[in-house]
């Protein structure tokens, strides 16, 4: 009785788990060039995982259903195992798992093992507790000098830009990220205080920003729009509202935007954020 009930419960729970994956909750549609490959790898993996999960649970349930003690005094099978079986399932699982592991490096390698193509647009991302700052180099495509001693949030100098540096004249620091459509973009990630993590779910991309490090990452967004940008590494009490937006805008709009000086840049960014609701 208990045995059959347990088998049924195991099977029902298995159905529940599998069903959850078909209820319509899923990734947001991908907006990056590597996104489809990511989604494909996820799908392959989750199918392997799903099949193994179902087989194991069904098998467990079957053993529980079939081999309960009937009270008729029969003895269980006296077996200490089987070397052949052990070998078989070791080899099979090893092959499957290692193949998954190898397949699972492709997107990773395409993103991380190659440098960004030459001429890729640059943006510096400077995270601080509960706020994102995006530092654009301006028309000269060169960043002005920054220095932690110059940081003064009260004066809105969040990244410590040195106003006396000529290269800094056309730089803009704003609270939202705009990237050009279908063009690679390289971000330099820095953190002012604690570890944060740059994350835009539909981008299928996440990278920590670590104090003391300049981490360079690159990707290509391929769908215009406005996307929520979240912090994904616990950074303090208001971690949950360390939010910004990433705009993916056509190349000409982008070129126009980044050529603007700070004040107009900010105003234009505001307009764009409204435009891409």
């Amino acid at each position: 009785m208990t045995g059959r009930a347990l088998a049924v419960v195991i099977w029902l729970l298995t159905i529940f788990c599998v069903a959850l994956f078909f209820m319509g909750w899923w990734f947001p549609p991908s907006i990056s060039e590597h996104g489809p490959a990511y989604d494909q790898q996820f799908l392959i993996t989750i199918i392997v995982v799903g099949i193994s999960f179902v087989l194991a649970q069904v098998g467990l349930g079957y053993m529980v259903w079939r081999y309960r003690d009937t009270g008729r005094g029969e003895r269980a099978l006296y077996s200490h195992g089987s070397n052949r079986l052990e070998m078989t399932w070791t080899v099979i699982t090893a092959v499957i798992f290692i193949s998954l592991a190898v397949l699972g490096q492709r997107v990773w390698a395409s993103l991380h093992f190659q440098p960004a193509p030459p001429g890729t647009a640059q943006i510096e991302v400077v995270a601080q507790q509960f706020q994102w700052n995006f530092h654009y180099p301006g028309a000269d495509k060169q960043f002005g000098r920054t220095d932690p001693t110059l940081v003064k949030d009260a004066d809105l100098n969040f990244v410590g830009l040195d106003a006396s540096d000529p290269l800094a004249k056309d730089d803009a620091v704003v609270a939202s990220l705009a990237v050009p459509l279908n063009r690679p973009i390289e971000l330099t990630l820095r953190a002012k205080d604690v570890t944060h993590s740059f994350w835009v779910p539909p981008l299928r991309f996440k990278q920590d920003l670590v104090p003391g490090m300049n981490i360079k990452v690159h990707f290509t967004a391929n769908k215009p729009g406005k996307y929520e940008l979240a912090c994904a590494e616990l950074c303090g009490q208001f971690h949950f509202k360390m939010k910004s937006y990433m705009l993916v805008i056509p190349g000409n709009e982008y070129d126009e935007l980044v050529a603007l000086p700070q004040a107009q840049f900010q105003a234009r960014m505001g307009e764009l954020l409204k435009k891409y609701q």
Partner: protein, 234 residues
Amino acid sequence: MVTTATSTKGIGTREREQPIISPLGGRGGGGNGPRGNGGGGGDRPRDDERFRDDRGRLGMWVGLASILMLFTALTSAYIVRAGLSDDWRPLQVPNFLWASTALILASSVTFQMAHRAIKRYEVKTYTRWVTLTGLLGLGFLTTQLLAWRQLVAQGVYLASNPHSSFFYLLTGVHGLHLLGGILGLGYLLARRWNKLASREAIRRRQRAAGVIGLYWHFMDGLWVYLFLLLFLWR
């Protein structure tokens, strides 16, 4: 090290006297031993009594493994941190550390003398050598403190730069462990098992000395290692 003591003076110092029970091991894996994957159990049941006296020694080895792991972790942090940035300012070797090294090396020798003495049942000599070892240990700690004072006088503090941080940290942690060793030596002197028959009491002391000796020599070797790490890898 010093386990395979055979007797001098005609007194059996073999560590175990109790009868060794005829090992059931002859039954090779024993009737229905778990045959695992069908392979016959080739494991031989072991005669436990053979091992019981080694308990302290084994426990000490295991404990030393964890101490070794602690210093391995600190070493890896040291190496990583050394490779990280330009704020690493290697210290000059404080003069007192040469004295430290000499003292602790000497203390291992004196401890060895003590151990040899107790194996010959020469309790007085043993006590003298153990005391001397302890004094050398204290001398080591003193020279370490003096080395610290020397650095402080030069204006080098714990937080001055990563190398000084690691210097104070590693010597400090090692010093604490060595202090534990000195307490162990104190225990060797204090604990005499007077209630037991004298031969058995001495056997106990031989064993205790063997165990503490492991620790002591380990601390010695650890110091030499740290000394090399701190002043060669910088």
